[in-house]
Amino acid sequence: MPFNSLSENRPGAPETGLSLRSKGRISRASASPFPALSKGFIKYWAIFSIELKNHFVYLADFILSNLSVIVAYFVSVQLWLIGYGARQEVAGIHKEELIWYLLIVQVIHFSVDYTLMLNIEEDVQSGNITNYLNKPYNYLLYTYCISSGRVVLNLIINLTISLGMTLFFTKSFASSLSGVLQLIPTLFLGFLIHFILQCICGIAAFWVERATVFVWVLNTIMLVLGGGLIPVDTWPDSLKPLANYTPFSAIFYYPAKLFIHFKPDLFVRFLIGQLLWVFLLGSSLWLVYRKAIRRLDINGG
């Protein structure tokens, strides 16, 4: 290793907090007790944890900022109940199931990290990205861990609030154990797809002056075409292919639909669909990032 032993064994050298073997230069390979695979996990887990700790500093503010989910959820439920009128079922979705469908999509909507795109743009344009690129980690994974810290906390808060509210008013539960358990992989993959889409648009800041122009467009399209406002089942047949050929329904519709109507074959189909989108979009993100990083121009200190 180059320069590894520059100050080693210097007679009378003061104690620098390092063992003699690694004095002045910590030799990672020999000093680290972590096996190769777990090293990466420990590193990224620490990044995820510090973001959680960061939010715990202002936990009360964070919870208050999430209370808007109550209003949005209440309004959408009321609108749909008016739409249902006297009918008990529309497109195979019972009135009660619809309330639970809306709960899941609203919780997703209020938990995903919509600031991610703006944060990446800010990092690129302010030059703050220098503090991330000079560390021994992957910038995309770093960003993912930071974003996940926010998402997980949002999810816990929003789910607790909305679940309590729904159980209080409906006094019923329109799902099954499988419907609940499937949320773990489908929500996780949905958040990942959302992260990748936001990242791709954020990285556009390397080319365009304001990536924010994409924020409103992307977020609206995601919500509408993803079944976040209207369940895909109730769409006209001519529009339904849109849900199959865009990744947005994999974020909102898949977890919510499986929550109310869990079927093993549908679960497998949706899961494969999500994995395919992760692969396709993830590869695109990697290519865009590789290209973008070469274009990085930072003027000034």
Binding site: P2, F3, L6, S7, R10, A13, P14, E15, T16, G17, L18, S19, S22, K23, G24, R25, I26, R28, A31, S32, P33, F34, K39, I42, K43, W45, A46, I47, I50, K53, N54, V57, Y58, G127, N128, I129, T130, N131, L133, N134, K135, P136, Y137, N138, E209, I293, R294, L296, D297, I298, N299, G300, G301
Partner: protein, 330 residues
């Protein structure tokens, strides 16, 4: 042994040019025009292991761009560089384990959390085992005397305290080279001096190569053995600091504020009057000929002094002088 080797390093940026007016703004939407800016041009230099190098120049001279290329953040337009035998932009992640950096204007500490949380995070990022991390942290906490505020949220620290904590974060993994981009910016005189002392100690005790950019001539005088001066992306001076001191840093500017107005003729041995009002005097002295102490004593005895400030000549003045000596116009 060279820690850094740079050959013909060049970096050009494309900057969008927008002529004024609404019509031109509309035009530039469809036909944008770009101007090429040469941030760094044909740099050639080496830095020995353990050396303390000041890389200085005025705003826009290319200092930060060079640091960013040497740390692998920016890709050069052409040229080569080896840092600790790594190609910085091709082996950025590998190199990151061996270098540390502090960008004076950009904090790497988590603003709402105590600095110790960032240190713990960095120990994970740099893959230090717990024992090594604890020993190293203890050592640095004592050395940089940050024990009193290590558990205080960063947002509540003074700038001087924050910079010391930044330095600890940068040194945790015992890097072979540290890149300091204007580390003393915004600090008061005392805080600057303290920080310089810590940096010097790290260099002495651990043999760490120090690559420092600064606007402050004081950083160079007190900290560095060698200085490279950059202007408009090109190296205009590369020499020992002692040489720079002898040739260009032998002047001091003394500003005196008076309690009572004086408008009689000015006499002070060794001084050249630059500016004068009823309440103010601005003089320059040559430290090769006269000692600063003697001149200050003289001024104190002759005038009713309220305040006195002694500064080095500004960097721009030194650069002007270098150009003059090299026979070029500035």
């Amino acid at each position: 042994m060279d820690a850094i080797e740079v050959k013909n390093l060049t970096k050009t940026f494309q900057v969008k040019v927008k002529p004024p007016g609404l019509k031109n703004s509309f035009k530039s939407l469809f036909k944008p025009k770009y101007r090429r800016v040469e941030a760094v041009a044909d740099l050639n230099f080496t830095v020995k292991a353990g050396e303390t190098l000041a890389f200085i120049g005025p705003n826009g001279s290319g200092k930060s761009t060079t640091i960013k290329m040497l740390t692998g953040i920016l890709f050069p337009t052409s040229g080569e560089a080896r840092v600790l035998e790594f190609n910085p932009w091709k082996e950025r992640k590998k190199l990151a384990f061996h270098i540390g950096s502090v960008f004076g204007q950009k904090s790497q500490l988590w603003y709402h959390l105590p600095a110790v949380e960032t240190f713990y995070l960095f120990s994970r990022i740099y893959e230090l085992d717990s024992r090594t991390f604890r020993q190293r942290l203890d050592y640095l906490v004592n050395l940089l005397e940050i024990g009193d505020f290590i558990h205080t949220p960063v947002r509540k620290l003074s700038l001087g305290q924050r910079m010391r904590a930044e330095l600890v974060a940068c040194l945790l993994h015992a890097p072979s080279i540290i890149f300091l981009d204007e580390p003393t910016i915004g600090l008061d005189v005392v805080a600057k001096q303290i920080l310089r002392e810590y940096i010097r100690t790290i260099n002495r005790t651990e043999g760490t190569t120090i690559f420092i950019t600064s606007h402050d001539a004081g950083d160079i005088e007190t900290l560095c053995e060698r200085v490279i001066i950059l202007n408009l992306g090109r190296i205009i001076y590369d020499s020992e600091v002692s040489q720079l001191k002898k040739t260009y840093l032998h002047q001091r500017v003394i500003e005196v504020t008076l309690n009572t107005p004086r408008n009689d003729s000015f006499t002070c041995r060794g001084c050249t009057l630059l500016e004068r009002t009823d309440y103010k005097l601005k003089v320059t002295i040559d430290t090769h000929r006269d000692s600063t102490r003697d001149v200050v004593n003289q001024l104190m005895s002759q005038y009713d002094v309220e305040d006195i400030t002694i500064t080095e000549p500004p960097l721009e003045e030194i650069i002007r002088q270098i150009y003059k000596d090299q026979g070029n116009a500035f």
